[in-house]
C-alpha cells in the first residue's frame, strides 16, 4: 500500500516537469513583455530591467537557470510586478487561503450533494427526486458570478447576517464557501444519483433484498460504496477545478487567494508568477488524482495496485 502511494507520487514528477516546461515557454512566447507600457520607457531603464530579470538571455538559458533554481533551492524566481517579492513568497501567502476556501467548499459540496443524490436515487421518480434534481439542475446552471452577488444581497445587505466581503473571521468564510460549494454540490448530487441508480439495479442488490435485509441496510451497507465511486473519481479534478474556479469567488468577496494572483499575473505578463502558480495548480491536480486512486483501493477491493 505504502509502496503504491510512493510509486504513484513518483509518477507525478515527469508530468510536473512537462507542465513546467510548457508554461515557462508559453508565457514567454505570447506577444508583449512585463515592462511594456503605453509610455515610452528610456532605453537604459528597459535594459536595466531586462538585465535584472535576465530577459535578454536566450530562452533556453533562462529556462535552464529557472529549472535549476527550482529543483535545487525551490526558488521560482522574483515576481516581475510585485517588487522585492519572490514567487514562492506570494504563493506561500495566498495558497493557504485558497486551500482553506477550497477544502471547506468541497466538504460542504459533498455534505449537501451526496445525500441529495442518494435520496433522488432511492426515491426515484417521486416528488422528492424531482425536487432534488431540479435543485441540482439550477445549481449547475447558475454561474458563480450570479450566485455571489445574490448571496451578498440577501444575507449581507438585507438580512445583515454575514459580512459582505474580506477574509477575517469564520463569519467571513460562510458566503464564499457556500458560493464556491453550491455548483459543485449540484454536480455531485447528479453523479451520486446516477451511481446509486446503477448499483440499486444491480444483481447483488437484488441478492441483498432476497436475504431479507431492510431497505436502510441495503442502501448503506450494499449500495453506498459502489454508488459513490463516480463521486470519488470526480473529487480529484473537482478539487483542482474548485481552486482554479475560485478566482471569481476570490474577486467578488475580496479574498487574498491564489486565483486572483493568477489572473493578474497573466494580465501583467508576470512570467515567473504565472509559471509558478500554474505549476502549483498542476501539482495539486496530480496529487488529488493520486489521492483518488488510493481512495479507490479502499472502496473497491477489485482494484489491483501492483502493476
Amino acid at each position: 500500500m505504502l509502496a503504491f502511494i510512493v510509486r504513484r507520487l513518483l509518477t507525478i514528477i515527469p508530468t510536473l516537469f512537462l507542465v513546467a516546461t510548457f508554461v515557462f515557454v508559453l508565457v514567454r512566447l505570447a506577444p508583449g513583455g512585463p515592462f511594456d507600457t503605453e509610455r515610452e520607457v528610456p532605453a537604459e531603464v528597459k535594459a536595466a530591467l531586462d538585465a535584472k530579470f535576465r530577459l535578454s538571455d536566450p530562452i533556453s538559458v533562462q529556462y535552464k537557470d529557472w529549472l535549476v533554481g527550482a529543483v535545487t533551492t525551490g526558488s521560482l524566481g522574483p515576481s516581475m510586478k510585485y517588487h522585492n517579492r519572490t514567487v514562492e513568497e506570494l504563493i506561500g501567502m495566498t495558497l493557504p487561503v485558497s486551500m482553506e476556501l477550497g477544502l471547506w467548499a468541497m466538504l460542504v459540496a459533498v455534505a449537501i450533494g451526496a445525500p441529495l443524490g442518494v435520496l433522488g436515487a432511492v426515491r426515484q421518480n417521486t416528488w422528492k427526486d424531482s425536487v432534488a434534481m431540479a435543485a441540482a439542475m439550477l445549481g449547475i446552471s447558475v454561474p458563480r458570478f450570479v450566485l455571489a452577488p445574490l448571496l451578498v444581497l440577501v444575507f449581507a445587505l438585507k438580512l445583515y447576517w454575514l459580512p459582505v466581503a474580506r477574509w477575517e473571521s469564520w463569519r467571513h468564510l460562510v458566503l464564499p464557501v457556500i458560493c464556491a460549494a453550491l455548483p459543485m454540490a449540484a454536480y455531485i448530487a447528479r453523479l451520486a444519483r446516477a451511481g446509486m441508480l446503477e448499483v440499486i439495479r444491480s444483481d447483488f442488490v437484488r441478492t441483498a433484498r432476497a436475504k431479507g435485509l431492510s431497505e436502510r441496510v441495503i442502501i448503506t451497507r450494499h449500495a453506498l460504496k459502489g454508488g459513490m465511486l463516480p463521486v470519488v473519481s470526480f473529487l480529484g479534478p473537482g478539487f483542482a477545478g474548485l481552486l482554479v474556479g475560485s478566482l471569481v469567488v476570490e474577486k467578488i468577496f475580496d479574498i487574498p487567494g491564489m486565483g486572483r494572483y493568477l489572473v493578474e499575473s497573466v494580465l501583467n505578463k508576470d512570467y515567473n508568477l504565472t509559471a509558478g502558480i500554474a505549476l502549483v495548480y498542476g501539482g495539486l491536480l496530480m496529487v488529488s488524482n493520486a489521492a483518488v486512486d488510493v481512495a479507490y483501493k479502499f472502496l473497491d477491493p477489485r482494484v489491483e495496485l501492483d502493476r
Binding site: F204, T207, A210
Partner: protein
C-alpha cells in the same frame, strides 16, 4: 395435505409505456417438502418473474401482482398468502424461510464486501447470531457446500474465487438459516459443465438431507432431467404442461413440449436423427395472440385454439386410486396435466 408452496392463478404484469406486459398470466403450481419442481421455458416465458413474485421482489412500479395467491405453509402451519403479506413480514421470510439462488454468481455477490460479511449478515438478521458464533456457522456452511480451506476463504472478496466457488458461496448463503423453500433461478447457466454437475449434486443432497423444497428454474432440459421430481413447462406467461419429470420426458402431450424435446440433442441418439427446431418466434408479451399463445407456431392448431386458452386436462393420475378423472376432478400431487385443445396424443407426437 397442504403443500409447502402453492401458487394459484398468479398474474404478474408490467405496466410499461409500450403497454401491459403479461409476464406471468395465470400460473398455478405447487411444491412439497423434499421435492424439486423444475420450471422450464425459454427466455421471457415468465419463469423468473413467477419466482421473483414468490419472493415479492418484482420491481414495483412498473411490475405488479395483479391476481392470484401464493400460499406458503411455514413449518407445517396454516398457509399464508404472500401476495398480501406486508413488506416487514416478507423481510422476515426472505433469506430465512425462503431463500433464493441467482443465475450469475459473478454479479450476484457484492464485490465490495467480504464473503464473511455477506454470510454473517444473514445470521445476524434472522438468527440473532453475532461475532464468533456467526463466523463459526458461516465457515461450517462453506465447508458443507464443499469449499476447500473454508476458514481461509471466509475473509476473501468474491473476485478472489472462481465462478463455481462463488456459486457454492451463494448456495451456502441461501442455506444458512435452513430455509424450507429454495428457489434456484438458473443456478448453473453461467457455469461450465463439470461445475454444473457438482452444483446440481449439491442441491440434490440438500433436498435429501434437510427436506428443503426446491423450485428449479432453467431453460436447460438436461438440468431438469437430472434433478427435478416434477416439471412445469412454461410458455408466454402460462404453464402449458405439468407432471412427473419422467412422464414429461417420455410421454409429452403438449406440442410445445414435444417440440422442445426434439430440438435437443441426446447422447444416446441415433446419429442420423436431425434436430428439429420449433418454427417461429415466441410472441411479444404485450401483444399476445388470442386463445392459446402457442397457436401461431403450433402445427396442431385447431379452430378452438384461437377462441380460448385450453382448460386443464388430466392425462394421467399420480395416484392410481383416483384413476377415474371424471369422478374426481381435483388435481392431485403426481398428476400429469396438459393445457391443449388437441386431445389426440398421436397427432401431437407425430406432428
Amino acid at each position: 395435505m397442504t403443500h409447502l408452496l402453492e401458487v394459484k392463478g398468479l398474474k404478474t404484469h408490467f405496466f410499461t409505456e409500450e403497454g401491459v406486459v403479461r409476464a406471468v398470466d395465470g400460473v398455478s403450481y405447487h411444491v412439497s417438502r423434499g421435492e424439486v419442481l423444475g420450471i422450464v421455458g425459454e427466455s421471457g416465458s415468465g419463469k423468473s418473474v413467477s419466482s421473483l413474485s414468490t419472493m415479492r421482489l418484482i420491481p414495483e412500479p412498473p411490475g405488479r401482482i395483479v391476481a392470484g395467491e401464493i400460499l406458503f405453509s411455514s413449518k407445517g402451519g396454516p398457509p399464508k398468502d404472500l401476495v398480501r403479506a406486508s413488506e416487514r413480514e416478507m423481510q422476515s421470510i426472505r433469506g430465512d424461510r425462503i431463500a433464493m439462488i441467482f443465475q450469475d454468481p459473478m454479479t450476484s455477490l457484492n464485490p465490495y464486501l467480504r464473503i464473511s460479511r455477506q454470510l454473517t449478515e444473514v445470521l445476524e438478521l434472522h438468527k440473532n447470531m453475532k461475532g464468533s458464533e456467526a463466523r463459526a456457522r458461516g465457515i461450517e456452511m462453506l465447508t458443507s457446500v464443499g469449499i476447500p480451506d473454508p476458514s481461509r476463504r471466509f475473509d476473501d472478496y468474491p473476485h478472489q474465487l472462481s465462478g463455481g466457488m462463488r456459486q457454492r458461496v451463494m448456495i451456502a448463503m441461501a442455506l444458512l438459516c435452513d430455509p424450507e423453500l429454495l428457489i434456484a433461478d438458473e443456478p448453473t447457466t453461467a457455469l461450465d459443465v463439470t461445475i454444473q454437475a457438482q452444483i446440481l449434486e449439491l442441491i440434490a443432497e440438500r433436498r435429501d438431507l434437510s427436506k428443503v423444497g426446491v423450485v428449479l428454474i432453467t431453460h436447460d432440459l438436461g438440468v431438469v432431467a437430472r434433478l427435478a421430481d416434477r416439471v412445469a413447462v412454461m410458455y408466454a406467461g402460462r404453464i402449458v404442461e405439468q407432471g412427473p419429470a419422467q412422464r414429461i420426458f417420455e410421454d409429452p402431450r403438449h406440442p410445445y413440449t414435444v417440440g422442445l424435446a426434439r430440438s435437443i440433442p441426446r447422447l444416446d441418439d441415433d446419429r442420423s436423427r436431425r434436430l428439429v427446431p420449433i418454427q417461429g418466434m415466441p410472441p411479444s408479451l404485450s401483444k399476445l395472440p388470442s386463445g392459446c399463445p402457442f397457436r401461431p407456431r403450433c402445427k396442431n392448431a385447431l379452430p378452438a385454439c384461437a377462441e380460448s386458452f385450453p382448460a386443464e386436462r388430466v392425462v394421467a393420475r399420480g395416484d392410481e386410486t383416483r384413476a377415474d378423472a371424471s369422478r374426481d376432478p381435483a388435481i392431485g400431487v403426481g398428476d400429469h396435466v396438459v393445457f391443449c385443445h388437441e386431445e389426440d396424443k398421436d397427432k401431437v407426437q407425430a406432428s
